[in-house]
Amino acid sequence: MSGELAVYLVQFALALALAPLLPGIINRVKAKFAGRHGKPLLQTYYDIAKLLGKGEVISRTTTWTFAAAPAIALAGTACAMALLPLGGAPSPLAFAGDFVLAAYLLGMGRFAVMLGALDTGSAFEGMGASREATFSALAEPVFFLALMVLTSLCLDLGRGATAAFSLSAMFDGHTAGAWLTGKGELLLLPVIFFVLLLVENCRIPVDDPTTHLELTMIHEVMVLDHSGPNLAMILYGSALKLWFFAALAAGLLTPALPLWQQAGLRLLIILLLAVAVGVVESIMARLRMERVPYLLGGAAAMGTLALILTQAR
C-alpha cells in the first residue's frame, strides 16, 4: 500500500512540476503553424519566476476579495488535482463521490476569481465574470454526465457502489480497456473531456487567450488587474487546470498496462493533448459568444447518448 502511495506522490509532484509546460507546448505548436519560431517551451516557468520576484499594483477600488482570489483558486485546483489518479496508482484521498468534490473545488476557484474580477469595478472584468459564470454553469452538467457514464460502467464491471463512485476507480485503466471489448460509446467521452478542456480553460474556439484585450473575452479579461505574485498564482492555477482536464481525457485512453508503462503513456497523451489544443487553435477561429452554448449542448447530447448506450445493455 505504501508503495502505491509513494508512486502516487511522485506522479503528483511530477504533475505539479510539469503543468506549466502545457501552455508552452500549445504556444510552440501555434508558432510552428504560423511559421514563427515562437516563445521558448519553458516560457510559463520564466513568467512565473519573474512575477514571483515583483511587487504588486492593486486597484484602489478593491478589497480583500481581490487579493485572496488567486490563492483560493490555486488551492482549489491543487486539491482537485490530488483527487485524480495519474496512472497506475489510486489517489490516497479517493472516496465515494470524490468527483463531486473535485467539481466543486474547481468551482470554488472559479467563484473566487469571478468575485475578484467584480471587485475591481471595471466594465471589462465584469463582462469576463458574467461570461465565465454562464459558461461554467453550462459546463457543470456536461462534466457530471460524462463522469456518470464512467460510474455506470464501473458498476457494470462489478464494483460495489462505494468503490465505483471515485475518480480513482473511473480512471484506473480498466474502463479504458472496456471500449476495446464492445463499449464503443466510451470513445465519445474523450471528445467530451476535450470540449470541456477547451471551455473550462477558455481556449479557442471558446475564447482567444492570445491577447489581454479585445480578442479575449472570458478568462484573461477577468485577471487584467492582477500583478506580481498574485498573477503568478493565476498563471500556475490555469496551467494546473489545463493539466486536470487533459489528465481526464488521457485517463480514458490508457488501458491497464503495468504501472510505469501506464503512467508513462498517460503522461505522453497529456502532452499530445496539449499539441492537439495547439493545432485546434491554429486552424480554427473563435466562435461567436452566442455559439458557445451550442458547443456545450453538443457535448451534453453526446454525453446523454453515451449514458443511454451504457445503460441499455
Partner: protein, 682 residues
C-alpha cells in the same frame, strides 16, 4: 420532554405578556420595554428548546399525552429524531432572528408600529412551528398548523402603511389557506378511512390497516392532497407564488425565520405523512417519480427566476424555492429507492434532503439577515443601486460572502455536504432495474448539477454586484455604518455554515438518524441502509478533511504572498481601464448585465425577458439601459384566471343574496321540502 414543555410554556407566557401589552398604545419607553420582553422571552425560550432537542437520546422517541381536552382527538406530543431535527432550525433561527429583530426594531418609530403585537405574533409563530413538529395527533397538528400559518400574516404586515406590503400579506394569507384546505381534506379523508386521528397509531398499524394497499383511489387522493397541502407551504411550483411576494415585504428577521424554518414544515409534513400513507416499501413507485420531477422542475424554475431578480430579498426568496425543490428531489429519490428495494438510494435520498434542510436553514437565515442589514444601512435592497459595500461594511460583507459561498455549494462550507449526499443517492441509479429508471435518476443528477452551477453564478452576482466594486448610487455611497454590536447575531448562522462543512460527519449523524426514523425500510433492507449511511458518512469525513486542507493551503498561499511582498512596493492605483481615463461607477456591470447571457439562453424556457435600450447617435448622451425581468407566468397564467373565475362565479351567485327576509324563509322551506322528498325516495 419536560424541557420541551418548559420551552413551550416560556414562549406561551411571553406571548400572553406581549398580548396584554399590545391592547393599548404604548408610550415610547413602554414600547422599548415590550421589545426587550419579546426578545428576552424568545431567546430564553429558544435556548431551553434547543436544550430539550439536545437532551435525551437522538434515536429514541419520547411522547407525552396532555390531559387537556380537545373536542376531537387528543393532545399528544412526541419527540423523535425527525421532530428533533426540524426543531433545530425552529429554535436556532428563532433565537438568532429574535436577537437580530430586537436590534433592528430599535430603529423603528414606536408610535407607528405596535411592537408588543409584533412580538406576540412572533411567539405565536414559534409556538405554532414547535407544536407542528411535535404534534402526534391530526387535530392538534391542524390547530398548530393554523397558528403557524396565521401568525406570519401579521408579521409580514409590519410595515402596513405600504400598499405593496399589504398586497403581499394577502397573497400569503390566500396561499396559506388554500394549502390548509387541502390539508383539512387530507386529514378528514385519513380519519374517514382509518377511523383514528393519532398519527402514531396510524404509523404502527399501517401494515395491516386500511392503507396497507396504497395503490387505491383513496391512497392516490391522500398522496395528491398531501403534496398540494404541504407543497404549498414548502413553495413547490406552482404553489410557490407567495414566497417571492411575502419575503421582500416582511421585515428581514421575519423573512429569515419564514424561509429558514417555516417552509421546512412543508417538507416535514411530507416526510412524516409518507411514514403512514403506505407500509414500508409498498408506496407506489410513481409517487417517488412525481416528487422527483416536481422537485427538479421547482429547482430549475426557482434558480432561473432568481437569476433575473434585481431585488436582493426577492432573489433570496426564489432561491428558497429552488432549495425546497432540491430537498423534494431527495425525498422523491428516497421513495423510489424504497419501492424499488434499493436501500442505498432510499436512505441517502432522505438523508441528503434532511441534511440540506439543516444547511439551508443556516445559510438562508444568514443571507436574509444580511439583506436586512443592507436595507438598514443603505435604505434599499435593489442591486442596481448598490455596490462597494464590502469596503464600507466589511463585517457584513464577510458574513454575506460566507453565506453566498455556502449556498453556492462550495467546499469547505455546509452547502456542499447535502449536495454530495444527494448526488451519492442518485448516482446509484444504474443499480435499479430498467433503463428508464436508471436514466431517470442519472438525468435528475444532471439537473442537480445544472442547478448548482447556476446557483454559483447567481450568488457570484448577488455578492459581487451588491458588495464589490464602486457604489452605483448615493444609497450605497452614504451608508450608515454598522458595528459588531448590531451584527453579532449573524455570527451564529455563519459559524454553523463553517462548522457544517468542517464537521460534516457530525451534522450528517443528525440527519441520518432522522432519516432512519422517518423512512421505515422493509426488514431485509435495513442492513443495506445502515451500510449506505456509514459509507456516506465516511465520504463526508474524507471530503471535509480535504476541503479543510484546501482552506489551509489557501491561507498558506496568502501567507507566502504576504512574505514575498514584505519588502517590495505595493502600489495603489485606479483600476486599469484599458486606456480609457473617464471611468465612473456607471461603467460597471450591473446585475442585469451580469445575468443577460443566462437570461437570453433560457428565455424560451422560463419566460425571462431581456429589454435593451441603447442611446441614439454616434455619441449617445442619454444613457441606455438593460433590464432583465422574470414575470411569473404561473401567477399570471394560472392563478389570476383561476381567481377571476372564482370571483365571477361568486358574483353570479349574488343573485340569490338580496337581503329580503321573506325570500330567505322561502329558501329554507324549499330546502326542507326538497330534503323530505329526497328522504322519501330512498
Amino acid at each position: 420532554m419536560s424541557l420541551f414543555i418548559t420551552a413551550i410554556c416560556i414562549l406561551a407566557a411571553t406571548a400572553v405578556l406581549c398580548a396584554l401589552l399590545a391592547v393599548r398604545p404604548l408610550s415610547e419607553n413602554a414600547a422599548r420595554a415590550a421589545n426587550a420582553v419579546g426578545v428576552v422571552g424568545a431567546v430564553v425560550g429558544c435556548l431551553v428548546g434547543l436544550c430539550s432537542v439536545a437532551s435525551g437520546p437522538w434515536t429514541g422517541s419520547e411522547s407525552l399525552r396532555l390531559p387537556l381536552g380537545l373536542p376531537v382527538g387528543a393532545c399528544s406530543l412526541g419527540l423523535d429524531a425527525l421532530s428533533r431535527l426540524f426543531l433545530l432550525p425552529v429554535f436556532g433561527l428563532g433565537l438568532v432572528c429574535a436577537a437580530s429583530g430586537g436590534i433592528a426594531l430599535r430603529h423603528e418609530a414606536p408610535d407607528r408600529h405596535n411592537f408588543a403585537a409584533h412580538w406576540f405574533f412572533y411567539h405565536m409563530l414559534l409556538l405554532g412551528m414547535a407544536l407542528v413538529m411535535t404534534a402526534r395527533d391530526a387535530v392538534l397538528f391542524m390547530l398548530s398548523w393554523e397558528i403557524m400559518s396565521l401568525a406570519p400574516f401579521f408579521l409580514i404586515d409590519f410595515n402596513d402603511g405600504d400598499s405593496k406590503v399589504r398586497d403581499a400579506s394577502w397573497v400569503y394569507l390566500v396561499a396559506a389557506h388554500l394549502g390548509a384546505v387541502a390539508l383539512m381534506a387530507f386529514f378528514t379523508l385519513l380519519w374517514q378511512t382509518t377511523g383514528g386521528t393519532s398519527l402514531e397509531t396510524l404509523r404502527q398499524t399501517v401494515s395491516y390497516g386500511p392503507l396497507a394497499q396504497p395503490g387505491t383511489v383513496t391512497g392516490t387522493a391522500l398522496f395528491v392532497l398531501a403534496v398540494l397541502g404541504f407543497g404549498a407551504k414548502a413553495g413547490l411550483a406552482p404553489m410557490h407564488v407567495w414566497l417571492p411576494e411575502a419575503h421582500p415585504a416582511a421585515p428581514s428577521h421575519i423573512s429569515a425565520l419564514l424561509s429558514g424554518a417555516m417552509i421546512n414544515a412543508g417538507l416535514y409534513g411530507l416526510v412524516r405523512s409518507f411514514g403512514f400513507l403506505a407500509p414500508p416499501g409498498a408506496a407506489p413507485e410513481w409517487w417517488g417519480w412525481a416528487l422527483l420531477l416536481l422537485g427538479l422542475a421547482t429547482g430549475l424554475m426557482g434558480i432561473l427566476k432568481a437569476s433575473a431578480q434585481s431585488n436582493l430579498k426577492r432573489l433570496l426568496a426564489y432561491s428558497s424555492v429552488e432549495n425546497m425543490g432540491l430537498m423534494t428531489m431527495g425525498v422523491g429519490a428516497g421513495l423510489i429507492g424504497q419501492s424499488c428495494g434499493n436501500a442505498w438510494i432510499a436512505v441517502l435520498g432522505y438523508g441528503g434532503a434532511l441534511l440540506h434542510m439543516l444547511n439551508h436553514a443556516a445559510f438562508k437565515g444568514l443571507l436574509f439577515l444580511c439583506a436586512g442589514e443592507v436595507l438598514h444601512a443603505t435604505g434599499t435592497v435593489r442591486m442596481p443601486l448598490l455596490g462597494g459595500l464590502q469596503k464600507r461594511l466589511p463585517l457584513l460583507g464577510a458574513a454575506f460572502a460566507l453565506g453566498a459561498a455556502a449556498i453556492a455549494c462550495l467546499p469547505p462550507l455546509n452547502g456542499f455536504t447535502g449536495e454530495l449526499v444527494l448526488a451519492l443517492s442518485l448516482l446509484d441509479g444504474p443499480a435499479l432495474f430498467g433503463v428508464e429508471r436508471q436514466m431517470g435518476l442519472l438525468l435528475a443528477l444532471t439537473g442537480l448539477a445544472a442547478i448548482s452551477g447556476l446557483a454559483a453564478a447567481l450568488y457570484a452576482k448577488a455578492y459581487g454586484i451588491t458588495f464589490l466594486g464602486e457604489p452605483r448610487s448615493g444609497f450605497a455611497a452614504n451608508v450608515h455604518p454598522l458595528s459588531w454590536r448590531t451584527l453579532w447575531p449573524l455570527a451564529v448562522p455563519a459559524a454553523v455554515c463553517l462548522a457544517g462543512g468542517l464537521a460534516a460527519p457530525w451534522f450528517f449523524d443528525l440527519a441520518s438518524g432522522a432519516a432512519q426514523s422517518a423512512l421505515p425500510l422493509p426488514h431485509q433492507m435495513t442492513q443495506a441502509g445502515l451500510d449506505g449511511l456509514a459509507q456516506a458518512r465516511a465520504s463526508l469525513a474524507v471530503g471535509a478533511k480535504i476541503s479543510g486542507a484546501g482552506l489551509a493551503l489557501a491561507l498558506l498561499l496568502l501567507l507566502a504572498r504576504r512574505v514575498l511582498l514584505r519588502r517590495r512596493s505595493v502600489e495603489s492605483m485606479p483600476t486599469w481601464g484599458c486606456g480609457f481615463q473617464g471611468a465612473s461607477p456607471r461603467i460597471q456591470y450591473t446585475d442585469a448585465g451580469f445575468t443577460e447571457p443566462v437570461a437570453k439562453l433560457f428565455a424560451p424556457v422560463m419566460g425571462l425577458k431581456t429589454r435593451l435600450r441603447l442611446g441614439q447617435g454616434l455619441f449617445p448622451q442619454s444613457g441606455g439601459d438593460l433590464n432583465v425581468s422574470a414575470p411569473d407566468r404561473l401567477r399570471s397564467g394560472l392563478f389570476t384566471p383561476l381567481f377571476t373565475a372564482v370571483e365571477s362565479l361568486c358574483n353570479a351567485c349574488k343573485v340569490i343574496q338580496h337581503g329580503k327576509i321573506h325570500l330567505y324563509i322561502l329558501y329554507i322551506l324549499a330546502t326542507v321540502v326538497g330534503l323530505l322528498i329526497w328522504g322519501l325516495r330512498s
